[in-house]
């Protein structure tokens, strides 16, 4: 049996307002190896979670797509198509207050221990060009409200946040 790899842990995000009684607002954790055959399992989990949180069907599909594309990019670029490397996904509740309105949402942290990626070199291709490749990054940015990449030590972390439609602050 191959040796179990240690899965990366998330870095702290600075705008997370934790709910009392919730440990960091954690909703779900997934630890997977960088095997493309496991992507469908992650998609299934993300789709069910986003449905549970009340996102619309279109948003559920777009968030699921964003996570799927992010994982495919990690496998392809960060891990260089090695299929036995650790990837950890942390799904946490998110909240922000904007102009007196409270918005709740979902924060997704995707952590890997692959090579460092210079985000400035990652650009989706211009959409007016008809050629394969370069679409995934566009889809991620179109789907999410926040897309941040951080490298700390040996860990890469992609932070994706999507907020639900606004709800009136009763306070």
């Amino acid at each position: 049996m191959p040796q179990m790899k240690t899965f990366p842990r998330p870095m702290e995000s600075n705008d997370q307002q934790n709910k009392p009684g919730h440990r960091g607002g954690l909703l779900l954790m997934l630890a997977v190896y960088s095997n493309p055959r496991l992507l469908s399992a992650v998609r299934g989990a993300v789709e069910r979670l986003t449905e549970t949180l009340g996102f619309s069907a279109v948003q559920c599909r777009s968030i699921t797509r964003a996570v799927d594309e992010a994982l495919a990019n990690i496998i392809r670029h960060t891990y260089g198509n090695r299929f036995d490397q650790p990837i950890a996904l942390y799904f946490r509740s998110a909240k922000r207050c904007q102009q007196g309105e409270i918005e709740s949402g979902l924060e997704i942290l995707i952590c890997d221990r692959g090579r460092a990626i210079d985000m400035n070199t990652l650009r989706g291709r211009p959409l007016d060009q008809i050629r394969p490749g370069g679409l995934g990054l566009h889809w991620i940015r179109q789907a999410m409200d926040i897309v941040e990449f951080t490298r700390k030590g040996l860990t890469n972390q992609l932070r994706l946040v999507k907020y639900l439609a606004q709800t009136r602050n009763a306070a």
Binding site: S40, R43, L127, L135
Partner: protein, 110 residues
């Protein structure tokens, strides 16, 4: 994911089912390109009715099929797009690049 090929009139039809993602899009790409180059059909029809999910590598495979078809003077047609498949083509601004019909009869009659 499963892909099968059949001939009807002057068309080669690919019936694809399941998810087209990073794990299996190379298989879709290879099957489509191999058959297009071997058979050189007048029409290439890709039936996506049973495809629930398609990622960017799946879209890339379709673009390669489209380009290979054009190079050989064939028409490359998509049929039976699911909501999800239609969404990704719209997001990528490719919905008008492909010839798209609801079903096989329309694609053959067009």
């Amino acid at each position: 994911m499963q892909i099968s090929t059949r001939r009807r009139d002057t068309a080669t039809i690919f019936d694809v089912s399941g998810d087209i993602d990073f794990a299996n899009s190379p298989e879709v790409r290879q099957s489509v390109l191999r058959e297009i180059r071997k058979s050189r059909p007048a029409r290439v029809i890709v039936n996506l009715r049973q495809v629930r999910y398609m990622d960017s590598s799946g879209v890339a495979s379709l673009i390669e099929g489209l380009k290979a078809s054009r190079d050989l003077g064939s028409r490359f047609i998509l049929i039976g797009l699911s909501t999800s498949a239609r969404e990704v083509l719209q997001l990528s601004r490719l919905i008008k690049v492909f010839e798209i019909y609801d079903n096989e009869e329309q694609a053959l009659a067009a």
